[in-house]
């Protein structure tokens, strides 16, 4: 038995080390390929420049950073009313009821839908609505991308939040009820404050997911290399510029795309790290 134990230990250790080596390899690959762009533009000039000129080989990432931040922040704002309601529904009001199980499986289903399907829905269904509303001439842009992103991240934000809300100790809630508090007051004064940092962490995770989403955004944002001037304006995100241009890119342009990939890697990694850290504090 002890022998088997040792063997299993060895296998697990190898698998774990392999993941670390793999991640390190990805970072190494990105860094080594980004070197040319760093050397020619300098890090701060690269992220502060709005120029993306293939003809003269001058590249800057500001429009894409702006597009990424705008779409992700808007997506979080749009998704809060829905995902918070869903998580209260599943975690508090209808906890363990049949209806709640049904709703949470539908939400989970949403998480499993490939992003290209969301892209199609945005392109063929939502975009004509925005055009009819007169928001813009062709519908593409930050607003369209953000709305679809918001729908895509609802499951990430709501499932985890619901768990944190369900974790609020019953004694606390019962205490509040015994003092004559209504349902709403219990949620406002007890559940939300207690589960608050957990909910916050789940929104940060959802934010990380919105930052890196590629396919649906590429289909909907309009792919123009400018800083969006308003919500109806078109733009480009860090993920979508890579998806659009890596195919025929070479030399300095490829290196510039690698820098954007590296930035995206570190931004999403740190967002995830922050969320995990907050959750650890909560669980303690």
């Amino acid at each position: 038995m002890a022998k088997m134990d040792k063997l299993l230990r060895g296998i697990l250790l190898t698998a774990a080390c392999f993941i670390i080596v793999l991640t390190a390899g990805i970072v190494y690959g990105l860094v080594s390929q980004s070197w040319d762009a760093f050397a020619s533009f300098g890090f701060f000039r690269f992220i502060a420049s709005t120029e993306w000129d293939s003809r003269n080989d001058i590249y800057g990432a500001l429009p894409f950073i702006a597009g990424t931040v705008m779409t992700a922040v808007l997506a979080i704002l749009f998704c809060i009313p829905f995902s918070l309601s869903v998580s209260l529904f599943n975690g508090e009001y209808f906890r363990n009821k049949k209806l709640s199980l049904f709703v949470s499986s539908v939400v989970d289903l949403l998480a499993g839908v490939p992003s290209i399907v969301f892209g199609l829905w945005g392109f063929y269904t939502l975009r004509p609505v925005l055009v009819d509303l007169g928001l813009s001439q062709q519908g593409f842009g930050v607003l369209l991308a953000s709305i679809v992103l918001a729908v895509m991240i609802i499951p990430y934000a709501s499932s985890l939040s619901a768990e944190f809300i369900a974790m609020v100790p019953n004694d606390l809630k019962e205490g509040a009820y015994s003092l004559g508090a209504t349902n709403l007051e219990v949620i406002q004064r007890v559940s939300l404050p207690v589960a608050g940092s957990g909910i916050f962490a789940s929104y940060i995770l959802a934010f990380g997911r919105a930052l890196g989403e590629t396919m649906a955004v590429t289909m909907l944002i309009g792919n123009t290399n400018n800083i969006p001037r308003n919500l109806a304006d078109t733009g480009n995100t860090m993920a979508s510029i890579i998806a659009n241009q890596f195919g025929e890119a070479g030399g300095l342009k490829l290196s510039a795309l690698m820098v954007i990939g590296l930035l995206l890697f570190f931004i999403t990694a740190s967002v995830n790290f922050i969320a995990k850290y907050i959750m650890k504090l909560v669980n303690r």
Binding site: S54, Y124, T224, A249
Partner: protein, 349 residues
């Protein structure tokens, strides 16, 4: 017992393998390069394979990749939409020749209810893409199309978000004939436009146009013709407004073609020509004896090229919505194929 049975099985398998390969004795030809002619090549290569018993494989990896693969000698021929510059030719190590196989064009497709046979000039296209004309009821568009009824509808110019030969051909033409375009947008595979939306690939651009009233965008003719997407008539260098069909695209190559076939045929002087047309080429080494290539390998390759540029191959080009080579182009192409040698000896019969 089991081992013996396995051994017998193995021997029979090996024997059968050996037998079959001896029987066919076919030559394997491999190529890689441009994606633009890939639909044509896939069919014409299969057609050649059935006719000759030789095998042809083709990888649509982009023109740049095709040139690199030929240079690395990992393929027997490359394919490119842009002919090699003098500098690129000198870097290939030995003499490389260009064989035009078909023509394609870039068309301006649009979505405007009730407007058929839209006429456009390079000046108008330039003004639309530079954001100087923003509505379809602009006087400049109306005066060029007196019969048509233009709605009060904003124009959404659509362009390619990825680097592409389509953008390169279109912008080369625009820069050649319109100074404002040349100075603001310029030419290249991947460009910055001051207005409009962008999408990936011909299908991306065509999809946006199909779903957006008032949109206009440039797409490859092979894609537009295959799907029957309406496109504008453009004014050519003789002042005629011409449709992008197989005949008019071919006509743009009915001009003086240089001996090496390396020529840009946009804005062709031929009065019937559609102005935004281009050749697509297969490139290969003129001297075929390299890297242990046998004379049979070289002969099969010449055979393949003769098949593509012959009547059967060109019929397939038309069927797959490319334009066939013009008489002038065919003449020069045959000369180039005849110049291919093996160990210094010409290969053609």
């Amino acid at each position: 017992m089991k081992k013996i049975a396995l051994f017998v099985l193995l021997v029979t398998l090996l024997a059968s393998c050996g037998g079959s390969s001896q029987k066919t004795a076919s030559v394997k030809i491999s190529g890689a390069g441009a994606t633009f002619p890939a639909p044509f090549y896939n069919i014409v290569f299969r057609d050649y394979a059935t006719a000759s018993g030789n095998e042809v494989t083709y990888g649509g990896i982009g023109s740049g990749g095709g040139i690199r693969s030929l240079k690395d000698k990992t393929v027997d021929f490359g394919a490119t939409d842009v002919f090699l510059s003098a500098k690129e030719l000198s870097e290939m190590g030995a003499e490389v020749i260009h064989i035009p196989t078909a023509l394609g064009a870039v068309v301006l497709s649009y979505n405007l209810k009730g407007v058929k046979d839209l006429k456009l000039t390079a000046g108008l296209i330039s003004a639309i893409y530079r954001g100087k004309i923003t509505n379809w009821n602009d006087e400049r568009i109306k005066s060029l199309n007196p019969g048509a009824n233009f709605p009060d509808k904003g124009i959404t110019p659509v362009y390619r978000s990825d680097g592409s030969g389509t953008t390169a051909v279109f912008s080369e033409y625009m820069s050649k004939v319109n100074n404002e375009w040349k100075e603001s947008i310029g030419e290249g595979k991947s460009l910055q436009f001051p207005t409009g939306v962008a999408a990936k690939g011909n299908p991306g651009v065509a999809g946006i146009i199909a779903e957006t009233e008032g949109a206009i965008g440039y797409i490859g003719s092979e894609y537009a013709l295959a799907l029957n997407i309406p496109s504008a008539m453009l004014q050519n260098s003789s002042g005629n407004f011409v449709k992008a069909d197989s005949k008019n695209i071919s006509a743009s190559a009915n001009v003086d073609i240089p001996g090496d076939t390396r020529v840009v045929i946009t804005n062709s002087p031929n009065p019937e020509a559609y102005p935004v047309s281009t050749f697509t080429w297969i490139i290969l080494y003129k001297e075929q004896q390299y890297n242990k290539r046998t004379e049979a390998d070289a002969r099969a390759l010449v055979d393949l090229l003769t098949h593509i540029t012959g009547p059967n191959g060109q019929r397939i080009a038309t069927k797959t919505y490319y334009a066939p080579l013009s008489t002038a182009a065919l003449e020069k192409t045959t000369e180039v194929i005849n110049s291919i040698t093996y160990a210094g000896q010409p290969l053609s019969k």
